[in-house]
């Protein structure tokens, strides 16, 4: 078999795929969040940002194809790992107890991941596949978050992303073989900080738009 395909069919190879695609997602959500922060400046600033972004058509297309590829790899590999792990522990323990290693993030990766997948589909249908010929993006957002249900769904989904990142960030370095006592404590702290930043940054948007303004 081709050595390249063979490498990524192993357990470690799959972990590398998760780590690299996960890192790509983290890069994306940081940039995405910074852009969205213009919402807090006001609707002119936000609409100007959207206008500017849509000016770079070619760039956006490349980014979209890239993100879609990352998503296909991350989700299918994650599913394979999840199923493999379930079958590896064919009989579960009667007493389930943590020795103190796992945390809410690590213990829920496949589940928060699944929530994120559903959320991404909803999110794209809310804000990407919409017609903005006779209204601005800001109008679309305020219309969406005028509903309580959307505010709750978005806040819960953002929490899922934060919990996923809380484990995902440091974990990806470990998966890539980057763990040293010199920098791992820092990476673990950044992981928590990033989760809080992502959770608060994105989570405040529906609350601010829907409730405060």
């Amino acid at each position: 078999m081709n050595w390249f395909v063979d490498t990524f069919r192993t357990s470690l190879g799959k972990k590398f795929l998760m780590a690299v695609t996960g890192l790509g997602f983290i890069g994306f959500i940081i940039v995405h969040m910074m852009g969205n922060m213009t919402l807090f400046v006001g609707h002119e600033a936000f609409n100007a940002y959207v206008e500017k972004l849509h000016g770079y058509e070619a760039l956006i297309l490349v980014a979209e194809i890239g993100l879609l590829s990352l998503a296909v790899i991350h989700v299918t590999t994650g599913l394979l790992l999840f199923l493999g792990n379930r079958s590896a522990r064919n009989v579960s323990y009667t007493v389930k107890k943590s020795g103190g290693g796992r945390n809410i993030g690590s213990a829920t990766m496949p589940y928060t991941g699944f929530v994120i997948l559903l959320f991404v589909i909803l999110h794209l249908s809310n804000f990407s596949f919409v017609d903005t010929t006779d209204r601005t993006m800001y109008d679309v957002i305020t219309a969406t978050f005028s509903s309580w249900i959307y505010i709750i769904v978005y806040v819960v989904s953002v929490a899922a992303v934060a919990i996923h990142v809380r484990h995902g960030f440091w974990s990806l370095f470990q998966s890539l073989g980057l763990n040293h006592e010199k920098y791992m404590p820092a990476l673990r702290m950044i992981s928590i900080a990033l989760a809080v930043i992502v959770g608060v940054g994105f989570g405040l948007i529906p609350i601010y738009i829907g409730i405060i303004t």
Binding site: T7, L12, K14, K15, S92, R102, G177, N179
Partner: protein, 251 residues
């Protein structure tokens, strides 16, 4: 000085080789000296069982001094019981209170089928070792000890990894029944030393694939293995294996 004794209720997994399913049986462990080890406590229970004509509880053990890696059971949900850095044979009954109910289960993993009661078949580990966990060297007369120089820091790292006794607690503790701490320890212990370098590439290549083939799960960095490992093997050994694997695959 008189020794303190305690009374316990045990819920022990009983299962026969020929049966696909097992179940819990309740036993009382009476007048157990707190100076006893966990295995000695099981010995006392077994003596009573034998005297009353019942089948004793099967469990693995050998050295009973924490160095061979034979013993092990999941006690109240933790591999080798609640005490950190301790094998089951070195866990003493003073860590339990009179009146406690203790649930004792075997290592649970598809790759470790149950032989009987608490005894599981860990030959999957032997198979992984046979696929690369060794060095091929000519054994002539003993060399001069300083013929091959090894830095102290490297020697210490290799030694830390070599502390793995292959008991399987990592697999038992891992929510995914992954064997990566074990394999990482072996890959590190041999790969860090100059004698292990010539075969480093084929070693990691073969050991990882053998591990996958035997039906162990995939590491998701839960770190339960390192906290429940009786020898405190660090997940940095897994990271080193990951690096070795990248090096071996892309060269």
């Amino acid at each position: 000085m008189t020794t303190k004794t305690i009374n316990l209720t045990l819920k022990v997994w009983r299962q026969n080789r020929s049966r696909p399913k097992g179940g819990f049986e309740n036993y009382t462990a009476k007048d157990i000296s707190t100076d006893m080890s966990f295995l000695e406590m099981l010995d006392v229970v077994n003596e009573d069982l034998v005297l009353s004509g019942k089948e004793p509880i099967a469990f693995d053990h050998d050295c009973r001094e924490g160095i061979c890696g034979m013993c092990g059971a999941v006690v109240d949900g933790e591999a080798h019981g609640p005490l950190k850095e301790t094998t089951l044979c070195q866990l003493h009954m003073r860590h339990f209170k009179s009146g406690d109910t203790i649930v004792i289960e075997p290592w649970r993993a598809r790759a470790f089928p149950i032989v009987k009661d608490l005894v599981v078949d860990r030959s999957a580990f032997d198979e992984i070792i046979a696929s690369g966990g060794y060095i091929s060297s000519k054994t002539g007369g003993a060399q001069d000890a300083n013929n091959i120089l090894v830095g102290k820091e490297i020697a210490d790292k290799a030694f830390n990894a070599a502390a793995c006794i292959g008991c399987g607690a990592c697999v038992a503790a891992c929510p995914n029944a992954s064997a990566m701490l074990f394999v990482g320890a072996k890959v590190s212990h041999l790969g860090l030393l100059p004698q292990g370098r010539p075969e480093a590439k084929t070693r990691v290549h073969n050991m990882v694939r053998t591990m996958d083939r035997l039906g162990f799960g995939n590491c998701s960095n839960e770190t339960e293995c390192e906290v429940q490992c009786p020898k405190s093997i660090s997940i940095r050994e897994i990271a080193r294996m990951n690096r070795e694997f990248v090096k071996a695959s892309f060269s």
